[in-house]
Symmetry: C2
Subunit: 229 residues, 2 copies
DNA sequence: ACCACATTAATTGTCGACAATCTAAAAAAT
DNA sequence: ATTTTTTAGATTGTCGACAATTAATGTGGT
């Protein structure tokens, strides 16, 4: 199913559609990481002209999913341990900022909605133990809402439109499912409380720590997978 | 004159050239902020086809200098007080991170080069009092080098390639010249010392404060200019 | 057998033209 | 006169073809 992301322009043009489709395929791995992209081939596959495909490639480059070299071509981003660290350092910093701002700028009803979402998670988790999709989407929603709560449009764009797809790509392809649910739940709860108390400093700190834990989790998985091959 | 920026792919293709040219014109204000962009007109002006121009527009969008709407068109970013705050919140966070990382990862000779740069600034300032260009370029160099020192490729790209042009645009068009030189010098010195002592926390804090001061400085200028008109 | 060079094939960059969409001016209706 | 509809103009999105550059193949020399 196609999860539609927040704060995204509606899909009107043909290149929009190609962009969204390719993005999903790259994140999910059907277009494999590190592989070269042939413009004529993919244009044929999506049934569009090369100009349209190139438009989509440009946008994919903007969210770090493909890399481009002049007169050489495009290739899908390669998932490496170094890049994971780099991206998470940035994410931690930015989402920490978002959380601090959210503590000041979130409306009471937004906080209320966040709490409801968390309770809903708890319910869903008990019922559908181990179902990864809900956990993925739920965690995503949680982070998205806090980022929105920062009320900083530039920051929101940076995180939700540019950075998050790459982060999802790591999570999905490392098979980050199931684990860490209960721990993440407690961490989420603590963050909400800090926001509700308008304690920006604490909220920022907790969010940074939460993301660091998430990073460590992915990292071990990554090391295991790379050691295997 | 054309200052060539660090970490940029060499200008090989025609759209590269148009991108660099338009970027300078937008930053300097010859293409005025907030104005609509006519693809056919600019294509003719730069002597390239629309496809080439659109490629350049895509890249300008990636560094936040133009905004695009489907089936409507492109317009140059508008300089507003709100956006200034938003961008500087992000900049402060990211460049703080860069500075903290630099304290750990910068090579001794890099730190040495940074100190020499600062001394050089002091000399140039005394000789050419009030000359804005050197101050601009010098300050830019200082920040660039520290960002490079973070050794985080993603962070470097984010700051140097994506965010900095917009920041320069504010500085240039607000006429940020001359003032704050001596104060900025002391702040730069303190930051270098923290980096040299591998005191990441202090370095981050000082950099954030330095950027906040810079923001306040621009903001007052902005308020003055907007109050006039 | 290995390396250097030339030639060929494939890929990317660029162009001009057409189709789809939006904006604005003119016409019609209330 | 004001609002709505229509129509015309202009702008953007998309396409297929050509030019320029790169990668691959084959050839000759040592």
């Amino acid at each position: 199913m196609t999860h539609t992301f927040l704060n995204e322009a509606p899909i009107t043009t043909a290149s929009d559609q190609v962009f969204v489709d390719m993005r999903r395929e790259i994140v999910e791995g059907s277009i494999v990481q590190g592989s070269k992209i042939s413009e004529p081939e993919l244009a044929k596959r999506y049934g569009v002209s090369r100009a349209t495909l190139r438009e989509a490639l440009n946008r994919l480059e903007s969210c770090y999913l493909v890399e481009r070299k002049a007169n050489v071509g495009c290739r899908v981003v390669a998932l490496t341990a170094e890049r994971l660290i780099e991206v998470y350092q940035v994410r931690s910093s930015l989402e920490g900022l978002a959380c601090r701002l959210a503590a000041d700028n979130m409306e009471p009803e937004e906080v209320k909605g966040l709490k409801q979402l968390l309770n809903q998670h708890l319910q869903t988790q008990r019922v559908k133990e181990g179902e990864s999709y809900y956990q993925e989407a739920g965690d995503l929603d949680f982070h998205y809402r806090i980022i929105q709560g920062s009320k900083n449009a530039h920051l929101i764009h940076l995180l939700c439109n540019e950075l998050y797809q790459l982060i999802r790509m790591y999570r999905v392809q490392m098979g980050m499912v199931g684990p860490r649910v209960s721990k993440a739940f407690d961490e989420h709860l603590a963050i909400i409380n800090a926001i509700e108390n308008h304690d920006g400093e604490l909220a920022e700190m907790l969010m940074k720590r939460h993301i660091s834990a998430s990073q460590a989790n992915i990292q071990t998985k990554f090391d295991l997978l790379t050691a295997k091959s």
